[in-house]
């Protein structure tokens, strides 16, 4: 086959089928419906299969992108899945929530002339196929006798757990909430990440032998020190996320009707407050909601508001659309759904209705000045530009601080913002204790958290003296005989070695 060139490939990006904006703004079904097999194959045709691909280093976990795309084109879907999951344990999730435009797709050479290859969409399609077919790469695991405890069941904890379980460790994840998933569960709404997708990934984790213990607040029920000294853990990984919402300290913040996006989303996603009174958690929706901030969290909060029937939803952001940290796709979807964006606007006061409830907000208009340390142009207020508008619900989505519990209850060294300090290998100041994800970096992304979890798993293996040997394959078998505890014989098998 002749090498593909930019002229021979399909010129247009295969469109993602989406629910119609009017309809979807009132339901919680997934917005982006996902590629069909045909669409995925078509989009794979657009990949030039560069010999020296830019997308691979563009991906935080270095997925062999041309590798799995090539396998899909050859219709070897299972093979493609193996290539993908070699680097990414949660393709169905990452395909949905990664900011691909800043990562793999951002550096795709096709994008120099045409629209870049829709790598995220292909990844998602493959991830969904795997869930539908029940594929999972469960290796034969030789236990190595080590016990590793993981604190937090977000993407960082999940990734770390999976890698360590595959290496033969006895892994237990402790999660404070009553359901696992971290932000993926309590933060990101159903229409962006259906709970079934998450459950599928957790099933795989359990099949690897990972124990998931919910309702366990580490630091308070037992400390990290106790895990190591009394509970027999040889190593511990901390992936507790950032998750302590920031407020602005402006007047009126304590009024009823003001809440953090985390609270709002937790009530809706985790506690199902939208289905009150069938579920007991209340929400108390307003009619006009203003969301402060324009990141992914803000987009999610706004779009949930809309779906629950809030009449007017405003986005208040002190910079411009170009500086917004949200995924481009989410802003586009939010715009289509009828969210009113107020760029270059900052709140200065929340107004009281006289009964302790929110009546509205006073804001200032901004303009962009000189670039700040982050390289983004700093917004500066325009004198005398303040104006008021009506709102009975104000949601803060302006970022998070480090969660203080583990800092309060252990000797872990924290940095000046309260995040856990680690070295290159993600080791903390306590021997055998590693940390990664948002609790180290501050709020970031799912894929970075996952990458950190995997990196920590590597470091923990090195710390414990576990070395991955060559992969071995089981001899060919046929029929049901080939199954060992439900594991197909052709599945990859890892033999684990502990260096004496």
């Amino acid at each position: 086959m002749a090498r593909k060139t930019i002229r021979t490939i399909p010129q247009d990006r295969t469109p993602m089928p989406v629910q119609e904006p009017k309809a979807r703004a009132r339901n919680f079904a997934e917005v982006a419906l996902g590629y069909s097999e045909e669409a995925a194959l078509n989009e794979c045709e657009r990949c030039l299969l560069c010999p020296d691909p830019a997308c691979v280093p563009g991906c935080p976990v270095h997925i062999d992108i041309p590798g799995f795309i090539k396998k899909i084109s050859e219709r070897d879907y299972r093979g493609a899945y193996d290539v993908l999951t070699d680097a990414n344990l949660l393709p169905a999730i990452c395909g949905r929530v990664c900011p691909q435009e800043d990562q793999c797709e951002g550096v795709c050479p096709v994008g120099d002339t045409l629209e870049p290859v829709a790598i995220g969409r292909i990844e998602r399609w493959l991830g969904d196929v795997a869930i539908a077919k029940g594929w999972s790469n469960i290796p034969y695991i030789e236990p190595n006798g080590f016990k590793v405890g993981i604190i937090g069941s977000g993407p960082a904890g999940m990734a770390c757990a999976a890698d360590l379980a595959k290496a033969g460790c006895d892994v237990t994840i402790y999660e404070a909430l009553h359901q696992p998933g971290g932000v993926l569960r309590y933060g990101i709404p159903d229409f962006r990440l259906p709970p079934g997708v998450l459950d599928g990934e957790y099933e795989n984790l359990k099949r690897l032998g990972v124990n998931i213990e919910c309702n366990t607040l580490v630091g308070r029920l037992f400390t990290i020190e106790q895990m190591i000294d009394e509970m027999g853990y040889q190593a511990v990984f901390i992936g507790t996320g950032a998750g302590s919402p920031k407020f602005m300290d402006i007047p009126g913040e304590f009024l009823n009707g003001v809440l953090s996006a985390n609270e709002f989303l937790t009530r809706c996603n985790l506690m199902r407050a939208g289905e009150f009174p069938n579920y007991d958690t209340p929400l108390h929706l307003g009619r006009r909601a203003a969301i402060i901030g324009a990141g992914n969290t803000a987009m999610d909060a706004m779009r949930v508001c809309l779906r629950l029937g809030v009449e007017k939803v405003y986005c208040i952001y002190r910079r411009t659309k170009a500086e917004s940290p949200a995924r481009v796709e989410e802003i586009e979807h939010a715009e289509e759904e009828g969210i009113e964006f107020h760029w270059l606007t900052t709140p200065v006061e929340i107004l009281d209705d006289g009964n302790g409830n929110v009546r509205g907000m006073r804001c200032l208009r901004m303009e962009l000045g000189e670039p700040d340390e982050s390289g983004r142009r700093r917004p500066v207020p325009i004198e005398g530009s303040d104006f008021e508008f009506e709102a009975d619900m104000i949601i803060y989505a302006i970022g998070t601080n480090a969660n203080p519990i583990l800092g309060q209850t252990s000797k872990l060294k924290l940095n000046k913002w309260g995040y856990i300090e680690t070295d290159e290998s993600l080791a903390t100041s306590m021997a055998g204790v590693y940390a990664g994800g948002d609790i180290v970096t501050g709020a970031a992304t799912v894929i970075l958290a996952m990458g950190a979890g995997r990196k920590a798993a590597c470091s923990i293996k090195a710390y414990l003296g576990i070395r991955d040997s060559d992969r071995v394959y089981l001899p060919e078998r046929s029929g049901s005989e080939g199954k060992i505890f439900g594991i197909d014989s052709e599945e990859k098998n890892f033999c684990r070695i502990r260096v004496a």
Binding site: Y140, I141, E142, P143, N144, G145, K147, G149, D170, T172, A176, L177, H178, Y186, K206, R207, L208, N211, E213, C214, N215, T216, L217, R220, L221, E230, M231, G232, G243, S244, P245, F247, D249, F254, N256, S260, E263, R267, M271, R272, Y279, D280, T281, P282, L283, H284, G356, Y396, N403, P404, I405, Q408, S469, L474, P475, E481, F485, C495, I497, R498
Partner: protein, 357 residues
Amino acid sequence: MIYLNAKAKSQTYKKIDTLCNPIAGVTTVSAARAANVVRIASLDAGKGDMGDSPEPGRGPDQGPRFEIVAREDFSDATYLLEIRHPMMAKAARPGQFVIVISHENGERIPLTLADFDARKGTITLVVQAVGKTTKQMQRDCQRGTRLFSVVGPMGVPSRVGDAKKVICVGGGLGVAPIFPQARAFKESGAYVVGVVGFRTKDLIFWEDKFKQYCDEFIICTDDGSAGIEGRVTKGIEQAIQKHADIDEVVAIGPPIMMQACAETTRPHNIKTIVSLNPVMVDGTGMCGGCRVKVGERIKFACVDGPEFDAHEVDFGDLMNRLRRFAADEQAAMARWSETCRMAGQLTAVDPSSQERA
């Protein structure tokens, strides 16, 4: 420890063969591991390894998770639940609380640890039926049943420090939660004056329990049917009159009562601690719903508290924020009462009979 070299790899296959044939009955680590694959996660894992005490883990014979092992009704609105949770019983300290979900679709409600017994492996909660969730629990949480979720202990434990003479005050739903504090102060060698408030004589509970740890015990009732007539603040005044050297007052109860306590001790300049009860969701510092204003700063009661310096707390703000969901709570209550009525099993609970401080 398992050590595999190239030769051992071939043995791996053998081992798999043995596993395939359970009749061979070889129990290898791998077999145990494989069993693990299908095991559903349970709270037991790891806990059996705490090793040092005979009671830490829950073997399969110890009953289901979060089982209610005892229940006691103090009045038609107040009930006690003793719950099996050996790890928590060991970890709990005075001043801490738990978050309970009573059933699958339930909300997360915070309840203070009213007692804990590491030896028995149980924790005790005393609940006042005030709304849908707590009334439904009153009906459903019988001995032998289980709660959907119990997580904790949460919050910073009380600083039971060097105070020599303290007053421990409990009113309404704060009577039970003050008990562990009174006990801890006593055990640390302090002179403890207990002051508790009830609406009327019939509602009094735990008198003996308190007396065991209090050097003086003052009961206040609204109607004067027992102890002194009036609010707990009257009891505090009385104790302060008698003892000029009170180091600390700890008060738990409804916000209005804690505010009154703060105002009672303020002129005397006595350090006063209150345990705040804002609406919470996660209890892990993640949502900010529990934020309170203390000394003009934002604090999250679930991770920075729940105990704060009473003289710094903005009670007006707390009380306003407790009304956040008033309309929804009433709707839920009305709907639930209706369901109960239709099911012909409405418990004889008169909303006006709730205890007040």
